[in-house]
C-alpha cells in the first residue's frame, strides 16, 4: 500500500511539474473550467427567479440547493482531477495497442491505468465548491448537526468511490467496443442525473428511474446523500441512507474491479 502511495505521489509530482512548466496553459485551463461552472451557476440563479424551490415541499430552496451544487462540484472535481485523465487515455491505448506496455509492468494494471495522470486544474472547481459551501451553510434554514459535519467527508469519499467505479467500468467497455470516444460524453451524461436532487424524479417514469439510479447504478447517492446530510435536517431515515451509501460504495468498487479484470482477460493486443 505504501509502495503504491509513493508511486502515486511520484506521478502527481511529475504531473504538477509538467503543469507548472506550461503555467499559462494551466491558468487558462482553470479559467475555462471555472467559466463552464459559472455558466451553470448562472442557469441555477435564473431558475430561482421563477421558483422558490426545486419541487414543491422538497426543502431544496436556494441556499440548500447551492449547498447541493457545491457538494457536486467537490466530488466531481476530485474524480476529474484524479481519475478521468487516465481513463480517457485508456480508450486510445486499447485501439493502438499501447495497453501492452502497461500490462507488462510489475504493478497492478487498474492502479496504473486509472491513476497515472493527475489534472491539477480540475481542482479549481472543487475550490469554488468549498467556497460555495462556506457561503451556503450559514444561510441554511437550520445549522448542520455535528454528526452531519463528521459524516460529510466520509460520504464525499463514498461518492468519489462510486464515480470511480463507474469510470473504471466505462473504460473497461473500451476493450469490448474497440474504441470508446464517447467515454467522456457518456460520463457527462450519466453524472448529469446526479446533478439534481433525487426528488425531481417522480411520477410514473421518474419513480422507476429514481429506483434504477439508486439501487442498480447508484449515481443518485453520489451527491444527494452527502448534500442532504449537510443541508437538510437529519431524520430517522438518515442512518439508513448513510449505511446504504457506504455499502453501495464498497459494492461498486468490488464490481468494477471484477468487470475490469474480466474485460482485461478479453484484451487482444492491437499492436504489430
Amino acid at each position: 500500500m505504501t509502495r503504491y502511495l509513493s508511486i502515486f505521489l511520484t506521478f502527481a509530482r511529475a504531473c504538477l511539474v509538467r503543469d507548472m512548466t506550461f503555467r499559462a496553459n494551466f491558468v487558462l485551463e482553470c479559467v475555462t473550467s471555472l467559466g463552464w461552472m459559472a455558466m451553470n451557476l448562472a442557469f441555477y440563479l435564473l431558475v430561482f427567479t421563477f421558483t422558490p424551490e426545486i419541487g414543491r415541499g422538497t426543502g431544496w430552496t436556494k441556499e440548500p440547493f447551492f449547498a447541493f451544487v457545491a457538494t457536486g462540484l467537490i466530488i466531481n472535481s476530485i474524480v476529474q482531477a484524479l481519475f478521468m485523465p487516465s481513463a480517457e487515455e485508456l480508450t486510445e491505448m486499447v485501439r493502438t495497442g499501447g495497453l501492452d506496455g502497461i500490462l507488462v509492468q510489475p504493478l497492478d494494471a487498474q492502479f496504473l491505468l486509472s491513476m497515472h495522470r493527475v489534472d491539477f486544474s480540475a481542482f479549481a472547481n472543487g475550490l469554488v465548491g468549498v467556497g460555495l459551501l462556506a457561503w451556503a451553510i450559514p444561510r441554511l434554514p437550520q445549522v448542520p448537526h455535528p454528526v452531519a459535519i463528521l459524516l460529510y467527508p466520509l460520504l464525499i469519499a463514498c461518492g468519489v468511490a462510486i464515480l470511480y467505479s463507474l469510470v473504471i467500468m466505462l473504460a473497461a467497455a473500451t476493450i469490448h467496443l474497440g474504441r470508446n470516444q464517447s467515454l467522456y460524453d457518456f460520463w457527462f451524461y450519466l453524472t448529469n442525473f446526479s446533478r439534481y436532487p433525487a426528488e425531481i424524479y417522480s411520477g410514473p417514469w421518474g419513480g422507476p428511474l429514481r429506483a434504477l439510479c439508486t439501487f442498480v447504478i447508484p449515481i443518485l447517492l453520489v451527491v444527494n446523500v452527502p448534500a442532504r446530510v449537510i443541508a437538510q435536517p437529519l431524520t430517522g431515515q438518515g442512518g439508513m441512507m448513510v449505511a446504504g451509501t457506504v455499502f453501495a460504495a464498497g459494492a461498486a468498487l468490488g464490481i468494477s474491479r471484477w468487470v475490469f479484470l474480466a474485460a482485461l482477460s478479453k484484451y487482444r493486443s492491437a499492436s504489430s
Binding site: T32, M39, F50, G55, D185, Y189, F193, R195, Y196, I200
Partner: protein
C-alpha cells in the same frame, strides 16, 4: 488511347459534372465507412445525446410543480420539453464538432499546404465534407430521433401550417451554414495564433449559453442589463448565436410569426452572409501570412 490521355481532365460540361459527382460520392462513401467502422461507439454516442433532455424534463417539471403559474416566460411545461427536443434538431444542423480545431491543426502541422498547391478551394472542400458527414449522421440518427419524438408527441403543439414548416426547414439550413462559417472562421484564427483550443472553448461556452441550447432565451427578458428598458434578452438578440439553436425551435413552436418571422429569417441570412465574407477574408489574409510548417 494512351495512359496519359485516359487520365487527362474530362472535357465538356457534362463530363465535368459527372467527375464532381463522383468526387462527392467517394467522400460520402468514405465518411459512411469511417462512421460504421466503430458502430458501437457511434450508436452509443447518438443515443446518449438524449440523456440530458431527460434530466431537463424532470427539472422543469419540478420547477413548474413548485410555482403557482402554469407558464414561465410564455412557456408551459409541455412547451419547455418540446423546446429542448427541438433544439436538439437545431444543434444536429448547426453544431460542427472538430471543424475549428481541425483547421487550426492543419495550419499548425503544415498539412494545409497541400490545399494551397492543388486546384481545390479549401473552404468548399470542407463544406462538402461536412455536408457528407451530416448526411451520414442524419441517416443513422433519424431512427432514434423519430422514436424519441414519437414517444414525446404529447408535449408538442399540433403540427404547424406548411408556411411555418417551410420557415423551420429554411432556418435549419441557414443554421447549418451559419454554424459552419462561424467555426471555419474561428479555425482560421490559427493562421495568427496557431493554437486556438482556448478560443474554441470560450466560443463553445458563450455559444452554449447564448444560443438557447441551455434554456429558452425568452427567459432572459426579465433580467435587466442596467440600462433602462434593455433586458439581457435584447442584447442576446443582436448576436448570431440564437439562430443556431433557439430560433428554429421557436419557429416550430409558433413563438415567432408573421412579419417578425420574415425579418428574423432575413437577419439569419444576413448573418450567414457576414460569416461567409469573414471566413473568406480570414482565409485570404491568413494564407498570405502563412509559412509552411512540417515536412
Amino acid at each position: 488511347m494512351t495512359a496519359a490521355a485516359s487520365h487527362s481532365p474530362p472535357s465538356g460540361f457534362l463530363a465535368r459534372r459527372l467527375q464532381a459527382l463522383r468526387v462527392w460520392w467517394t467522400m460520402l462513401v468514405i465518411c459512411l465507412e469511417e462512421r460504421l467502422v466503430y458502430r458501437g461507439d457511434f450508436v452509443l454516442g447518438t443515443l446518449m445525446r438524449f440523456l440530458p433532455i431527460v434530466t431537463q424534463v424532470f427539472l422543469w417539471t419540478a420547477v413548474f410543480g413548485a410555482t403557482s403559474t402554469g407558464s414561465i416566460a410564455g412557456y408551459s411545461r409541455n412547451d419547455i420539453v418540446a423546446y429542448y427536443l427541438l433544439t436538439m434538431v437545431s444543434r444536429a444542423f448547426s453544431s460542427m464538432p472538430g471543424l475549428a480545431s481541425g483547421i487550426a491543426r492543419s495550419i499548425r502541422d503544415g498539412s494545409i499546404k497541400k490545399y494551397l498547391v492543388q486546384p481545390v478551394d479549401y473552404v468548399g472542400y470542407l463544406l462538402a465534407a461536412r455536408i457528407a458527414h451530416k448526411l451520414v449522421y442524419y441517416a443513422v440518427a433519424t431512427l432514434p430521433f423519430a422514436g424519441v419524438f414519437l414517444f414525446c408527441r404529447e408535449y408538442f403543439p399540433p403540427i404547424p401550417d406548411w408556411t411555418t414548416i417551410g420557415a423551420f426547414v429554411l432556418s435549419l439550413v441557414l443554421s447549418f451554414l451559419l454554424g459552419f462559417f462561424m467555426e471555419a472562421t474561428l479555425g482560421m484564427l490559427g493562421f495568427w495564433f496557431l493554437e486556438v483550443s482556448s478560443i474554441v472553448f470560450a466560443y463553445m461556452l458563450v455559444q452554449y449559453m447564448l444560443s438557447g441550447h441551455m434554456f429558452p432565451l425568452d427567459m432572459l427578458r426579465g433580467i435587466p442589463t442596467g440600462v433602462a428598458g434593455v433586458s439581457v434578452a435584447d442584447v442576446v438578440r443582436f448576436l448570431p448565436f440564437e439562430y443556431t439553436a433557439y430560433f428554429p425551435a421557436a419557429v416550430w413552436l409558433g413563438k415567432v410569426q408573421g412579419a417578425e418571422l420574415v425579418r428574423s429569417l432575413l437577419v439569419e441570412a444576413a448573418w450567414v452572409g457576414v460569416m461567409i465574407v469573414a471566413c473568406r477574408i480570414a482565409w485570404w489574409r491568413g494564407t498570405r501570412r502563412y509559412s509552411a510548417f512540417g515536412g
